[in-house]
Amino acid sequence: MKWKLAAVVVVCLLLCGNTAWAHRIDEYLQATILSVEANRVHASMRLIPGVLVAPAVIAAIDRDHDGVFSEAEKRAYAERVVRDLSITVDGKAAHPEPDAWTLPEATQLRDGLGEIHIEYHVDVPPSAAANRSLVLANHHLNDASVYLVNVEVPQDRALRIVDQKRNAKQSVYELDYERVGGGDTPVGARRGMRGWWEGVQMASLFRLGMRHIAEGTDHLLFLLVLLLPAPLLAANGRWAATAGVRHSLLHIVGIVTAFTVGHSLTLTLAAMNVVHVASRPVEVLIAVSILLSAIHALRPIFPGREAWIAAFFGLIHGLAFASTLDRLGLSRWHRLAGILSFNLGIETMQMLVVVLVLPSLLLMSRTRSYAVLRVGGAVLAIVAAVLWIAERVLNVQTPADVVMNGIAHRGLILATLLFFASVVCGSFSRRRVS
């Protein structure tokens, strides 16, 4: 061992005095990351020779020994590397095809720098069985090589990695994966059910629903702005007297319920693929809904019919919720239960927010300073809505998201402040009255 190290050091010094930092000296690192698709497996290979093995690798590439890698030599090397692999799919030999390759200059490789990249794929013939297995054995320059093989989490949610096995060097690698929730065979369907019971995600969808409301500032803003004038009564086209507590409460509950009914309906329909609407117009309409409810908070334009408006725009917000669910790529089966958890999450968060601001609204609406809050909130919402509309129609960048998200992130603190402010205003005005 000692003489070997000594030899390594000496040769290294001889070869290039300034590559003592080279991390890989007498090894050829071959690192592969596989990605599994429905009908093929794609592989991305990085090959990195240490300074001591670089001459052998260079010799293998530079067949005419002119010190330059020609395009033909690069292609020939990529083909050789791929030929040195043996791959089986479900026990049958498969033929990897090189797709692309990049090689550094010979001088770089000689200095222990630069990586060779080779991309290849193997076709996976269709099969009735849900369980697939791929074995990859790498025989390329075995004596000097060390190997890494890994697989990416499949983009296709219907595919699931079951197991990976390797020999100690990772030169032989076995990947077992399966198709889940495909539903095209009875086995597949049962497996899909099991996958659902095992894997999914009720809790995570519930959380997602909560997060969606908490972070989807536009939904929340619509609801809050609609609640702003709820404790008030309209008279002569202006917001005037304060309604009684009972009336205000009923009104607020009515609005929230109507919004829920609306978005639950479309969320379900869209998630079950009954209706489908492009997301862009939906996003624009959501911004419009905020604009309208904000104008309404300034001057009553649909007094007494807030619940209907909430229900109507709830339908539109539901379509947007559905597109979030859509992005998760759940199969139809998962969706039914998914919608339930997701919607429960939305409802819970929504109720939390309402419960958080309701006392402040009721308390403050008894005072004249409520006008400040109502007008201020409405103006902020109008500005945000107009910016969002511009963003979504014209595809321009505005600071609306940054600002509104900033506010939403401090929601708890702001709600607390609002509550204190309402208490202060409440007691001030009471003192004045008495």
């Binding site: 003592a20 990586e115 060390v146 990695i161 990976q164 100690a168």
Partner: protein, 376 residues
Amino acid sequence: MRRLFVLATAAALSFSSFVYAQANRSTEAVVQAADSFLATLTADQKQKVMYAFDDATQRARWSNFPTGVVARGGISLKSMSAVQQQAAMKLMSTVLSPMGMEKVNEIRQADDDFKANGSKRGPGGGGRPQGPPPDVQGGPPPQFGGGRGPGGPGGRPPGGDLFGSDLYFISFLGKPSLTQPWMLQFGGHHLALNITVAGSRGVLTPTLTGAQPAMFTLNGKTTRPVGRESDKALALLQALDDSQRKQAVLSYQVADLVLGPGQDGKKIAPEGLKASSMNPQQQAMLLDVVAEWSGILTEPYAAARMAQMKADLKDTYFAWSGATDGKAGTNITAYYRIQGPHLVIEYAPQSDEPGNHVHTMYRDPTNDYGSALLKP
């Protein structure tokens, strides 16, 4: 009544601005320190140090290699005046925690040690210098290096310019801002900090740390720049029972980082022991290992990241490959990986000098360079 209005409005306004200021305090301080640093630069330096926020090439221009081998963007400490260096380090100590700052400095000191003593590997293991002879080109003393200062990407500098604590580069992508996202990069040999700041949030992924020597004596004190990473993970491994350990210890060798430089955004299938089969004490130990990376950033940023790590804990895996009989206080020669929905940590001893040469990688495949912060 009118007075009440004014009062209420004023109170509300000052309250909310106070709240905003509190939450945004760290970013404010960071932006301020960044602006003060930029103000010390000449026009020429400023031009070299600034990149567009969406400059994908500069984003990915980092490596474990010395800067003389893989050129970084930006400007080096070496090319700066004393005042500029001071402002640069002030900026770093604002965006990093004291622990992070210490780690960065120890990594730089290791590079000084390497420059002076070379690799200690070799016949008899006796400190025979085999790094590049420091005196090859003579050259002026490090500071105020005259025309030789590397000012950005360039050719390969002379042999003497490969190592040293001043060969660390700083660069900005986008203008430092309280609201708009921007990036600060700081790195050199065995160090690549990629810090994205977006409003009140700060993200450290992807980041590379490492050291060679990973254990050396500095002013009579044993210094291990990435030593706690070794000790804490070893302690966790030793706290596992036999059946847990069977799951955590992989049956194969892992020769290097799987997701090193250039492997942005890749999400590999996790392996090893799931934290949901750990007891609370073991789970706490796991989080404590993660804190060696997440805690590099200043507290408010780091705290948000740790909260995410806790939320992800059940789906986080711990995998180990190599010798399991290490000793606390010395560096393990084994590879380990911690992987969760938003995390990949790799600790990879390098084969040329396993206990004394380490690369580590800290990633969030869903949030490279803060990409997740930028999505609507």
